[in-house]
Symmetry: C2
Subunit: 624 residues, 2 copies
Amino acid sequence: MRPIEHLSRVEAIQALIGTFPPLEPRIFPVREAVGLVLGQDVSAQVNLPAVAVSAVDGYAVESSSTGLASPQRPVTLTPGRFQWVNTGSPLPEGCDSVVMVEDCSEDGGNLQVFRSCYPGQNTRFPGEDVMAGQPLASKGQELTAQSASLLIGAGVTKVLAIPRPRVLFIPTGDEIVSEDVYAKGSKPGDVPETNSILATRILGEAGFHVHVHPEIVRDNRSLLEEAIERGTQEYDAVLISGGSAKGRRDMAHAVLKGRIIFRWLLMRPGRPAMGASVNGKPVLVLPGFPSSSMVILFTLVVPFLSHLSGRAPATYFDVKGVCGYECPLLQPMSSPPGMEEWAKGRAVLLDREVRVYPLGGGSSSLWSLAESDGLILVPQDAVELPKGAPVRFYPWVRMELDRRCLIQGSDDPAFQLLALGTRRRGCEVVIRRVGSMGGVMALSRGEAHGATCHVLDPESGRYNVIVDRLDGEGDWTRVLLFRRQQGLMVAPGNPKGIHHISDLAREDVRIANRQHGSGTRILLDHLLVSNGLSPDQVRGYDSVCVSHGDVAMRVLNGFADAALGIRSAAMAMGLDFIPLVEEPYELVYPSRYRGHPAMEALVEMAEDPEWRSRVEAMGGYLWP
Amino acid sequence: MRPIEHLSRVEAIQALIGTFPPLEPRIFPVREAVGLVLGQDVSAQVNLPAVAVSAVDGYAVESSSTGLASPQRPVTLTPGRFQWVNTGSPLPEGCDSVVMVEDCSEDGGNLQVFRSCYPGQNTRFPGEDVMAGQPLASKGQELTAQSASLLIGAGVTKVLAIPRPRVLFIPTGDEIVSEDVYAKGSKPGDVPETNSILATRILGEAGFHVHVHPEIVRDNRSLLEEAIERGTQEYDAVLISGGSAKGRRDMAHAVLKGRIIFRWLLMRPGRPAMGASVNGKPVLVLPGFPSSSMVILFTLVVPFLSHLSGRAPATYFDVKGVCGYECPLLQPMSSPPGMEEWAKGRAVLLDREVRVYPLGGGSSSLWSLAESDGLILVPQDAVELPKGAPVRFYPWVRMELDRRCLIQGSDDPAFQLLALGTRRRGCEVVIRRVGSMGGVMALSRGEAHGATCHVLDPESGRYNVIVDRLDGEGDWTRVLLFRRQQGLMVAPGNPKGIHHISDLAREDVRIANRQHGSGTRILLDHLLVSNGLSPDQVRGYDSVCVSHGDVAMRVLNGFADAALGIRSAAMAMGLDFIPLVEEPYELVYPSRYRGHPAMEALVEMAEDPEWRSRVEAMGGYLWP
């Protein structure tokens, strides 16, 4: 077999579909076939209802015996000419209709009827719901619980259906350790085996049960070969996690040689995914990074397993009632030409429109994977997508968009804690760290529910003057959340003796800086200028981080000697801190969002004593 | 305890929530807590990555050793000053950056570096993804597989989480039999136990496992009492199926007396649902009709079990990523004042807009339940909703709307078979039987993808003249699907000796008729007039059915002596048939739908030999 290389994802799925037909249908009791695709047409075996039954609680009668009964001229029926029936009870012999309780009264053994009856009144005819012989379901249709009930009611007990594929997931890799080994403290660089959690869940939600291979297979040809051999004998499909790339420890290519169907997808992440046929069974090799693995599971494995289960290819993404929807981008995206890109994304509801944006973080980032709502598809032929461009978004978790708000702006750990706290009220505050200036600009363009900022106006020496300048007086609500200390973070013990902003210009001092538009960077520029210094005198001025935590981490790890930042970030890392200024940290939002559940929760939480005491423990915060 | 009676569904949920707190959280291994709501805040235990690691495959170096390397002036590093690293491998001692393979070449044991390096280049810092102490998830949040991976990566092994409630489902009722007993032929009026299939699936999809009580409990006080007693001792919630209404066999009220929390909901279906507290555990009594049961499961049980699982009440309908969406009605609806109504509905995509309409069929109809896509909510305060009014629609099955078309118009069993056949091509043809006239009118208003019709124009004696009169010449595609025989259906052996249309006016003959706008009714009117008869001479003229099958059933069961209808319907019931006319049965659709997958499938299927031979076997059809 010659592998197809450098192909699109859809071509890869087609290659798999061309190689492996759907599983053979088997006979199942109807109840056990719920969720399976039928392998046959199904018709009703009996009428439903089988006999005429009452549609109400009342008295069964022979209609002609009620004559022209009316409230003025009731007709009296003697015992034996009427009989009580419950809803659903068969009509007794000789009766052809039912009088409702409110249209008669039982009186000394007789029944007074106030309304004349026609044949069949208040009854359900035999076959009224379904007639014997009527087609009920057809080959290729997925049996719902509702249809299964119908089939059973219509006398069908067994159906031919395509079973769910039995799937084996084999984790591999020398660096991969079980979560227990990892937690007990393993070698540096070891990675806990968590991809099986993603596979079990993603495939489980699509209706596929996954068996996880109990051992993590080392990067060893014969061990991998043996696991694949055994797996393909016992399962309908085998998923290998890791080992598909070109690294020196990647064994999958060597082991599967001659049996590979495709490799190198024109997509990212997921490029190294590989498909093979061993013992007539599909073997799919998934990339090892969690995000890459997740994308391949979602966009390739689910569609292919759906095919094995007999579902139509049209349902590739339609496994959870969610088939992706079109919404505009909140920020521009670019993608290499000829590559389909699946970016982890978040969705927010702004002015009744869902908008999405990609999350940073590479394929190895567990944080951005956990933060994402789903995948943004950038098609193979797209290269540059401007802000507002429509993209397709495929959620992979449940979202409650009307209880979520997007705050763009300044980074602050206390504000993050506050945002997290709103989850207790069933709300969610999503933060995009774009710097104070970026936040206010986004707000003015309607691209956020609110902004956080601390921007010094060098001319006036006042803070957050830009907020005063937002259009529409009175339309904005401003909340001073706290004041916080900014200063210099330096290594523990301050080995380089950094005490003043002018020390940043020393030849032996390298700083870590923040991104353009960040309030902290604006403050640094102001401090440099007021001390007669210019940026090009400062080493590391252009090495940029997007958060206080990141710069602190650089200082801690010796990649920088000093950085301007807040006390809480320095304290969290055990760094020394030289305080320089105190600044107000404000939340600004359009007043029309005052009733937004997440905004309400945010503002209330900011007054919450528990939250305040946790923030105080972080250091460097003062209440307004 | 005094029960609250005649309350809204939301009040009922509130009463339950007020009585039963969420289950007590327990410690779970992180992997097993996926899908559960956290009972604690969770922070990172370790940095992720734990040490600086390479972000690429390449050579780890000490950045200063690369000096001002450039392609013109490469720097040569001798062995020991560089080391190969895989992506994710820890940086070796003494190295602070990684040179990518493309920026260097190994040459006789030395490494030629073409590009100068800065500290930290192509590396991931310790804590870059997550820093120790960083909050990762908070109490009240549902743990996704992605978050579980993050937690494990950040050194968290166990979490406090709220377990899933263990749920017991008890089927009850003297008329309810197991599906096996039913299939073997049970008493008339017996109903197979299928509600447990609905409960298992609906609750299963919401993440709740249901144990079905192995026996169907008879309508007997002590048996029911005992089952409830045992169930509440062993489970977190008990669902009783049936027995909550006022019928003579309904035992739930008597058994639960004094322990009832609420009964009689201001909603339909589902009015008789009941909630009680036994041994401190919730007992919910569901109505016995399948649709009523389904509605209560969907709108009350899922929200309440979600509450027991610690989910926020905001997520009542948000269990599958589908929280209901607003779309306009395709037909008017009305609802009794003060009652919330949940109608079984279907959705179609017409001109890029999703529209929904209610399905007929009472709560006992399994057919309409199986046909429905979900529920249309008519709020408590709504009484009349005109066509086009926005309603909320909650799908309960997966829909592929862009592969579905809606055909309104005439009823025909062969056309139904054709529609069903398109499912083999992954398509779906939804039929609304509104009669030929109704179909063409709907089409002209853009309320259908196509219409089926056979309408005689009495003046010209020609068929389907109304189609010629549709606006926009050339915009319509017409397909003559078949010709079919219309005639009189009479009981087997024709006991009343009916041979001619004039026999319908006989005093001893009662007919069943079709609805207004039906082509068959128009034909009947024409036949009566041309025989010098008027409708008021015909007994049963006003007893209306919406399909050929229905009128045939009436004749078969002796509720009518004759009916005008098609041969195939008569044959299916074993009725005698007196042929009168042959008529063309046409499919009409806007030409712009020619490429619609379902329309394509429909037209192709109509030429399919297998389908044609099945139709021929039905009787009374001729090919054009």
